[in-house]
């Protein structure tokens, strides 16, 4: 057993070294090269539904739908990473924001919701983002003064409150849910969106028979958000988050308005969570309280931690694993809580920094281990 663990650990070390080697080689490439490779990779992502790659495509489910789910989960992970990976705040109720975004679109856009207005999708989504962001501020205002564990418990409660509210309130149609959630349609596209294709292989891209438009849309949103978060990370805001995460008290002594920046992290995370929910249920077109359980919320945190909190590429990998594995290996579905749970335990023992760690995070974790040695 010990020999097995030891060899696993060595294999993992080799893998981690290889990953660092690739990253170093990547960053030493000249900038035009990097941009060219990136564009080629993005083009590959857009054409994935058309390429019938053996072993990767899912035999039991529509592959494009799986890709769409992956894209939505990556967006969730990118948002959650702002809160957990960048600002260092543990949010266990992130699904609450996802639900707020989704329900906002459903309530404002569906003719079958108790609210009489019926706005087109393109109007609903920005409102959904704003409402989710507002809910983040409302939740964060009193709770971000708390530290660590308390915040985790309060956010956990928030996620559950939203779910129970959705289950029992009239505005959400209770457990019956809302159907006819609005879907993006070319008729509502503003003029600056006309570049987005509307017909693919003779079928409208946003329809039940062809979901490719949803995938392309989600992928586009993911790319924009990842670039945006990266910019933020390298700005003064990112610097402030980094300081707060590494040592909140020291950050305060440097003059960082810690509460303000924690609230910003929470609000931006909530906005991205709301956007993910809005996107996902625009394809689903039906929403009820079932999709918002605590386990999903915790699995998302697991995906961020396993992937490598603080590193956008890492959390994207974690999210894709979480979305893709159960679809590719159907037998996996029943065991995914178990498998992700075990993976999380194994990771916290052997690789707390995640599969593709952020470089700073690795040093932080080593430093913390030094300060509190396990007997």
């Amino acid at each position: 057993m010990n020999a097995l663990l030891e060899s696993a650990r060595r294999a993992d070390e080799r893998r981690a070294k290889a990953a660092i080697g690739i990253r170093d080689r990547w960053s030493s490439l000249p900038r035009p090269w990097r941009i060219a490779v990136l564009i080629a990779f993005i083009a590959l992502l857009y054409s994935l539904p058309g390429l019938d790659i053996p072993l990767i495509t899912t035999p039991d489910t529509d592959f494009t739908s799986v890709l769409f789910l992956c894209a939505v989960y990556v967006l969730v992970a990118v948002g959650l990473n702002v809160v957990i990976g960048l600002a260092g705040l543990l949010d266990l109720g992130y699904i609450g924001f996802y639900a707020v975004g989704a329900y906002t679109v459903a309530i404002l856009g569906s003719p079958n919701s108790p609210v009489v207005v019926k706005y087109p999708w393109i109007v609903c989504v920005p409102i959904a983002i704003a409402v989710a962001m507002l809910s983040g501020v409302i939740l964060g205002w009193p709770t971000l003064r708390l530290r660590g564990d308390y915040l985790a418990i309060v956010t956990l409660g928030f996620g559950e409150i939203i779910r129970v509210f959705a289950l029992n309130s009239d505005i959400t149609n209770g457990n019956r849910g809302i159907n006819a959630v609005p879907t993006p349609s070319e008729a509502d596209w503003p003029s600056w969106m006309t570049w987005f294709p509307t017909i693919h292989e003779g079928r409208p891209v946003f329809s039940v028979s062809s979901v490719i438009g949803f995938y392309w849309l989600a992928l586009t949103v993911v790319i924009i958000c990842m670039l945006g978060v990266r910019r933020l990370e390298r700005s003064r805001v990112g610097r402030s988050w980094l300081a707060i995460r590494e040592d909140e008290e020291a950050a305060e002594l440097m003059g960082v308005p810690t509460f303000k920046y924690k609230l910003w992290a929470f609000a931006i995370g909530a906005a991205l969570g709301g956007l993910s929910g809005a996107l996902f249920f625009s394809k689903q077109t039906f929403i009820n309280a079932q999709g918002f359980d605590l386990f999903t919320s915790i699995l998302w945190v697991a995906a961020v931690v396993i992937g490598g909190a603080g590193n956008q590429l890492g959390v994207a990998v974690g999210a894709i694993l979480l979305a893709y594995l159960p679809e590719r290996f159907r037998e996996f579905t029943d065991y995914r809580l178990l498998i992700f749970g075990v993976a999380l335990i194994v990771m916290t023992i052997f690789r707390p920094q995640g599969l593709l760690p952020s470089r700073r995070r690795t040093v932080e974790l080593e430093d913390r281990a030094k300060e509190a040695p396990v007997a």
Partner: protein
């Protein structure tokens, strides 16, 4: 008078840590707070820098009442602290840690000038510029913490246990630098367990016991005070 604490009380939950402390620091001084573990030295520092709200009393700095002011705004006014346990950002390089010290400032050429000044005071930091803060030795981290506190160009520098965990030779060195910083025009309020060093370098000092000030005087007076000698200097 640069800093004045009037009858300041502070509690952690139900445990009262400071019972009405009054003290002053004049511009250009080095003032030391000495006392045993748990006497309230670090708590006094936290009250001044704004990490803990006070229960009672008032704190004024540079002619302004800052009793209720947020910690980050006190930094802008000119209070800067090197915290107990150093509080280095482990994942940031030495250089990035120092840049964090200048967080409240925008004037790039001035910041660069102060970086050079800190590197001049602590040449070791220059050698380790790119190294992660978390991987440095205790002595280097202490230098970094003091250097970083200087980067906000404070009027008042608060140093919490600058000699903690350092080898005797390094202790000498760090106190030499504190005196040098003071001679360059920064007022220093300093908390120390090493009473011998603190009293011989400070202009004035206060002795704290269980959250009260029990004695005050010039460094030299207290250094020769029999009671202080007995309790804190460890020599008969």
């Amino acid at each position: 008078m640069l800093l004045e604490l009037k009858d300041v009380s502070l509690a952690y939950g139900r445990i009262v840590a400071l019972h009405g402390i009054s003290l002053t620091v004049d511009e250009g001084e080095i003032v030391a707070l000495i006392g045993a573990n748990g006497a309230g030295k670090s708590t006094t520092m936290r009250a001044v820098s704004g990490l803990r709200p006070v229960l009672k009393g008032s704190i004024s700095f540079d002619g302004q009442d800052i009793t209720k002011m947020r910690a980050d705004l006190r930094v802008i006014r000119g209070v800067s602290q090197s915290p107990e346990g150093r509080g280095i950002f482990p994942g940031m390089s030495v250089r990035e840690n120092l840049e964090m010290g200048a967080y409240t400032r925008r004037n790039r050429p001035e910041i660069d000038k102060d970086l050079e000044r800190v590197f001049g005071l602590f040449p070791r930091l220059k050698e380790r510029e790119k190294q992660s803060g978390g991987t440095m030795s205790g002595g280097e981290q202490q230098m970094l913490a003091v250097g970083r506190a200087l980067m906000s160009r404070p009027k008042l520098l608060l140093l919490d246990e600058p000699s903690m965990g350092l080898a005797p030779m390094l202790i000498q060195q760090i106190f030499d630098i504190i005196v040098e910083i003071n001679q360059q025009g920064t007022t220093v309020l300093l908390v120390e367990q090493n009473a011998q060093q603190a009293l011989s370098r400070a202009h004035r000092a206060y002795v704290l016991e269980t959250g009260r000030i029990v004695k005050e005087g010039t460094g030299a007076e207290l250094l020769h005070d029999p009671a202080v000698k007995d309790a804190y200097l460890g020599v008969a």
